[in-house]
């Protein structure tokens, strides 16, 4: 058993909240630059230039890339040989509270979905635990904006809908989202599991670098095929027309029931944020 203090967790979460909101990862920046180089439509080129200038300003001045600094989605891989002194869960919420205050990040969480009173400190975090072998804790903070979250959808397809049904659904979701989620977007697709697991997989897919592919060639090819089809829609950056509607499609899948084919599409924007640290 390795002992880890809850305060260590708080420190890491606090840092990651600020880091993730002010600095995009290199894989994403490289992807945006590569798309700018391929873009042929002048209006779209202009928007992509603004997007590049924007994250450069955020990097230089340590300010949030986007004003919607999101709900703090926190993925925690807890090694089963770790013992946390104090409450792990409280430590995570405290880290979010401190990070959003110190980093001058926007507080965008309401305490109740219907009475809608702001909690004032961006808590609670949305926490996803995963128990893994080992004696470390890996924490990933992924602030999620709701312009894109609101454009996400889930569907329980029939097994007979098959591969074509999955492709059609992904394209339908992107088409219906149109200009709303600040394209160019990153598309997370979860296939299989149960209703809730499919949604979880779609969100988890957004954590994977945009220069990676699914480890199985079949799904890797499907990622590329869907990206190509999405970028043939013509929606373009901000919906003003162009090739670059999406930067990447990431798919995650898992076994499912003989009677089902759940598919979830979690849309993220060009401000796809996540930062990790291992304790």
């Amino acid at each position: 058993m390795r002992n880890i203090q809850a305060t260590q967790v708080t420190d890491v979460v606090r840092r990651l909240c600020i880091e993730a909101n002010c600095h995009l990862t290199d894989d994403l920046k490289n992807c945006i630059s590569a798309c700018r180089a391929c873009e042929t439509f002048p209006v779209a080129q202009g928007i992509l230039d603004q997007i590049i200038e924007n994250y450069q300003i955020a990097d230089t001045n340590n300010v949030p890339v986007c004003q919607d600094t999101g709900m703090a989605c926190v993925f925690v891989d807890v090694g089963q040989d770790v013992h946390v002194e104090g409450s792990l869960e409280d430590a995570i919420h405290e880290g979010v509270k401190q990070g959003y205050a110190e980093g001058y990040l926007r507080k965008s969480v309401v305490r109740d979905p219907l009475d809608r009173v702001n909690t004032g400190d961006n808590t609670p975090a949305m926490i996803y635990y995963n128990l893994v072998p080992g004696d470390q804790i890996k924490i990933t903070v992924a602030p999620k904006g709701f312009g894109s979250e609101n454009m996400s959808q889930i569907k329980m397809l029939k097994p007979s809908d098959g591969l074509q049904g999955v492709k059609d659904f992904v394209l339908k979701v992107v088409e219906e989202a149109g200009p709303n989620p600040c394209p160019p977007i990153v598309v997370g697709v979860g296939i299989g599991g149960t209703f809730d697991k499919a949604a979880y997989l779609a969100k988890k897919a957004l954590l994977r670098p945009v220069d990676s592919h699914h480890e199985e060639p079949f799904y890797a090819d499907l990622e590329d095929e869907l990206l190509e089809k999405i970028n043939a829609l013509g929606i373009g950056p901000q919906g003003f027309g162009g090739r670059t509607t999406a930067l990447k499609v990431n798919i995650e899948k898992m076994p499912t029931h003989i009677a089902g084919l759940p598919v979830a599409v979690n849309i993220n924007c060009h401000v796809t944020r996540h930062q990790s640290e291992v304790i």
Binding site: Q50, P64, C66, Q67, G178, G239, F240, R243
Partner: protein, 188 residues
């Protein structure tokens, strides 16, 4: 070519712009999101006075991050506009001439824009760090209790926007996409 816009933004000014025009706005604009819109429309319904003059006004749909020391405002890019669809027609009817946001609008909003003469501008979503550089001054004028959603009076200089929907109902989301698809026809 960028068109220069100076506030106040009159109905004549609004009617002179076309979907796809890129503009730089200088002058005073106001911020409001969902919660502030709801309160403004309640005042309109009760026939009471609004905290700012809505005539010839441009409203920016934004909830900025808190300003760091030395900043006029934090990151301040547009929020998705359809959530304001329920409220915009009533405000356009009493004189609002411009809206800045991102994303689609519904038929009622477009009908009001055509009837009274108003424009829907887009600012680049997800570019809050860049856009905040054009905001020189920000002060809360109402609903401080709403935090990021309070109504702020912004002084802007060359704030970059694109006309998405003009006062005749032309829509860049349709025409821009069409133009791109035509430009690549025959390729590949």
């Amino acid at each position: 070519m960028n068109k220069k816009i100076q506030t106040p933004f009159t109905r004549e000014d609004a009617r002179s712009l076309k979907a796809g025009d890129t503009c730089l706005i200088t002058g005073v604009i106001y911020t409001a999101r969902d919660a502030a819109h709801k309160r403004l429309c309640e005042l309109v319904a009760q026939g009471r006075e609004l905290p700012m003059d809505m005539r010839n006004a441009i409203i920016y749909f934004v909830g900025p991050t808190p300003a760091k020391p030395g900043q006029a405002i934090g990151s301040a890019g547009p929020t998705t506009s359809y959530r304001m669809d329920a409220y915009s027609p009533a405000l356009i009817a009493i004189g609002q001439t411009g809206m800045i946001g991102k994303g689609k609008r519904n038929a009622e909003v477009i009908a009001a824009m055509k009837e009274y003469g108003a424009v829907y501008f887009g600012a680049t979503g997800g570019c809050g760090a860049l856009l905040s550089k054009c905001i020189k001054k920000a002060e809360i004028v109402a609903y401080e209790d709403l935090g990021a959603e309070a109504i702020r009076r912004l002084e802007v200089e060359d704030f970059p926007v694109t006309v998405i929907i003009d006062s005749e109902g032309n829509n860049l989301y349709e025409t821009g996409r069409e133009a791109y698809l035509q430009s690549v026809q025959g390729e590949a």
